[in-house]
């Protein structure tokens, strides 16, 4: 027990995103309402965004903009800056996520029009007829 706790705390960002990930996955798989499935999907994607963002973070580092020390010399130590690459990647991933959300909502609207409902069991019932 004494060792487990620090183990969890030391990487708390991983655990947090993992929990979010499973909440999202649960929503996508188990929920009957299609809208809730979409919400699950967003949580799922967000968990991954957070995971990426958190791995770029460094203790005591600054934003990755070239930083000058007092004698006007550029500070070129990598440890002084947060890693910008994961953040940039996630900008793209956010765009992708928004795109997916848009398509999902559009299709959901169509499903509502065709089947008259967005509850999965009712749709299946409707398709059987």
């Amino acid at each position: 027990m004494d060792e487990l706790f620090p183990f969890i705390i030391a990487k708390y960002n991983y655990w947090a995103s993992l929990i979010l990930l499973f909440i999202g996955l649960y929503g996508m798989i188990a929920k009957n309402n299609l809208m809730k499935k979409i919400i699950g999907m967003i949580i799922f994607q967000t968990a991954i965004l957070l995971f990426y963002v958190s791995i770029g973070v460094k203790q005591g580092a600054s934003v990755p903009i070239l930083f000058f020390s007092e004698d006007h010399q550029p500070l070129l130590e990598a440890s002084a800056y947060a890693n910008p690459l994961p953040h940039v990647l996630m900008l793209t991933a956010i765009v992708v996520g928004v795109g997916t959300l848009g398509v999902a909502l559009a299709i959901l609207q169509k499903i509502q029009r065709v089947h008259g409902t967005i509850e999965e069991d009712e749709i299946l019932e409707d398709m059987r007829q």
């Binding site: 990930l21 996955l25 996508m28 299609l34 499935k37 999907m41 799922f44 994607q45 991954i48 995971f51 990426y52 791995i55 994961p86 990647l89 793209t92 991933a93 992708v96 795109g99 997916t100 398509v103 999902a104 559009a106 299709i107 959901l108 169509k110 499903i111 065709v114 089947h115 749709i123 398709m127």
Partner: protein, 506 residues
């Protein structure tokens, strides 16, 4: 100019996708012409690139904006991706030509938007094949996935729900992949494939649990995308409810490109040594693949709807390719890569033939097949050639990929996989035999036996000749001829393109 060819492969269809939206006022004919021209240009660029690769006998690296890797994004085209690019561009071009009638029939109101998505999907697929960067691959994967959702949903009616399920599952797959890439990035600090291969070969990373988790997530994500049994449930519904053109474009290419990505991950990013010694799942995966082949074919046998039957055959074919890749020997790898080409062509051929039959008869079940040999003789012959290739009748290319796969399985001692391949072939023979019997002789159960008309030609009542339109026939005939040509030139294809990519250590 010619050394810029790699970038044109991606840029031409992307520009076409943009311009097609703006070209709406110019009418459907213009859109069709533009799409076909753009894809023909893409094919030319792909061929030029392949020529570059073969001439230089090494991979062609194209650095976007001249930024050097590992920071810049690069396109890497070697022998293997070169051929797959040609396959994708070629299949897309054939489908575009084929789409003249069906696309308009399926999309009377938004043809340009439809074609735009078409071009975007092709862009995504080509980009995935050419990309040399893991994150870039993710973006292109999503581009192709998003555009395929749009295309599949155009099938209307039940297609919406099927597409929605595909969207959910596809997003899970893509996110798994992205998460896995995250793990790899944490451990290596790089996203460039060639760079990663060097970094990952360090002993401490070979042992690392995080890398293993990363690999597992990536492979799981790809398996979902390529519908490996038992993760295949989304595929049959999504593909069989789609419009004819969409099915012809999506069905042959998307899963095949996913298989290609799996090979890239396994053998380029990671290494054969890592996969088979550190991960050491191959036995399990081969069982999965064998199950996929048998279950897929049996499920296909149980289908009444023609296109749904074909989609289950895809599930089985994915089993073939996955099994071959995990056999850990040269014959298995050759079989898998060759089968990517062969299966892409034969799935295209069958989907186009079945699409034409559905287009003419309006039926989607076995009833559509009655008397096809009299009604649409050329389509029927195309169907026969495609079926022969799926069954594995020489000299079609399906026979030779099976040859390599069985040879590899025998060398690896994977007798379960050998048995699965043979059972699947026999079941495939039964599937197509049932259809062709009806197509040839008519259906005895449905209609009374055709009266014997004595001496002469016809069997039974004269059936009006109603061949598919020329715009459908030409691509169909090209793809059917391609199956035979590819089969006859197996040796050339293998020795010029595939043998270069066989991983070291086999």
């Amino acid at each position: 100019m010619i050394d810029q060819a790699p970038v044109f492969i991606v840029i031409i269809p992307l520009l076409a996708a943009l311009l097609l939206v703006f070209a709406t006022p110019l009418g459907p004919r213009f859109a069709y012409g533009m799409l076909v021209t753009a894809l023909a240009a893409t094919l030319a660029a792909a061929l030029a690139t392949l020529n570059l690769v073969v001439a230089a006998n090494q991979a062609v690296h194209y650095r976007m904006g001249d930024w050097l890797p590992p920071h810049g994004i690069e396109l890497v085209i070697d022998h293997l991706s070169g051929v797959v690019l040609v396959l994708v561009a070629g299949c897309a071009l054939l489908t575009a030509i084929y789409s003249l009638r069906t696309a308009e029939q399926d999309n009377p109101d938004r043809l340009n938007q439809y074609y735009s998505l078409f071009a975007l999907l092709v862009t995504g697929l080509l980009g995935m094949v050419a990309s040399g960067d893991l994150f870039n691959l993710y973006v292109l994967l999503e581009i192709s996935a998003l555009s395929s959702y749009g295309l599949l949903a155009r099938g209307g009616g039940q297609a919406y729900y099927a597409t929605f399920k595909y969207l959910i599952v596809g997003t899970i797959g893509a996110c798994f992949y992205l998460l896995g890439v995250g793990y790899i990035y944490i451990m290596t600090g790089s996203l460039n494939m060639a760079d990663l291969a060097v970094i990952l070969s360090r002993p401490e990373l070979q042992e690392s649990v995080s890398v293993k988790i990363g690999f597992t997530l990536i492979i799981l994500g790809i398996w979902i995308k390529m519908a490996l049994f038992p993760l295949h449930a989304w595929l049959p519904n999504a593909y069989s409810k789609a419009g004819t053109t969409t099915a012809c474009l999506v069905a042959p290419l998307m899963t095949k490109v996913s298989v290609y990505i799996m090979l890239r991950m396994m053998f380029t990013v990671f290494s054969a040594d890592y996969i088979f010694n550190q991960i050491a799942w191959s036995e399990l995966v081969i069982y999965l693949a064998s199950a996929a082949a048998v279950v897929g074919m049996l499920a296909a046998l149980a289908q009444r709807d023609l296109r749904k039957m074909l989609t289950y055959i895809i599930v089985a074919e994915i089993g073939y390719m996955t099994g071959g890749a995990w056999l850990a020997n040269a014959a298995g790898f050759t079989g898998t890569t060759y089968h990517i080409l062969a299966d892409g062509l034969m799935t295209l051929c069958l989907f186009m033939a079945v699409g034409a039959i559905i287009y003419r008869t309006g039926e989607t079940t076995k009833a559509a097949m009655v008397g096809i040999f009299q009604k649409m003789p050329i389509t029927a012959v195309v169907l026969v050639i495609g079926a022969a290739s799926i069954i594995g009748v020489p000299p079609t290319c399906g026979f030779f990929s099976k040859w390599y796969l069985i040879q590899g399985a025998a060398q690896a001692g994977a007798w379960v996989f050998v048995a699965a391949l043979l059972i699947a072939s026999l079941v495939a023979a039964v599937i197509f035999f049932r259809l062709l019997e009806v197509a040839f002789f008519g259906d005895l159960d449905a209609a009374p036996a055709a009266p014997e008309d004595g001496h002469g030609q016809g069997h039974g009542p004269a059936v009006a000749r109603a061949e598919a339109p020329l715009s459908m026939l030409i691509p169909m005939m090209i793809s059917a001829a391609g199956l035979i040509v590819l089969g006859i030139y197996t040796r050339e294809v293998v020795s010029y393109f595939i043998s270069w990519s066989i991983p070291a250590g086999f």
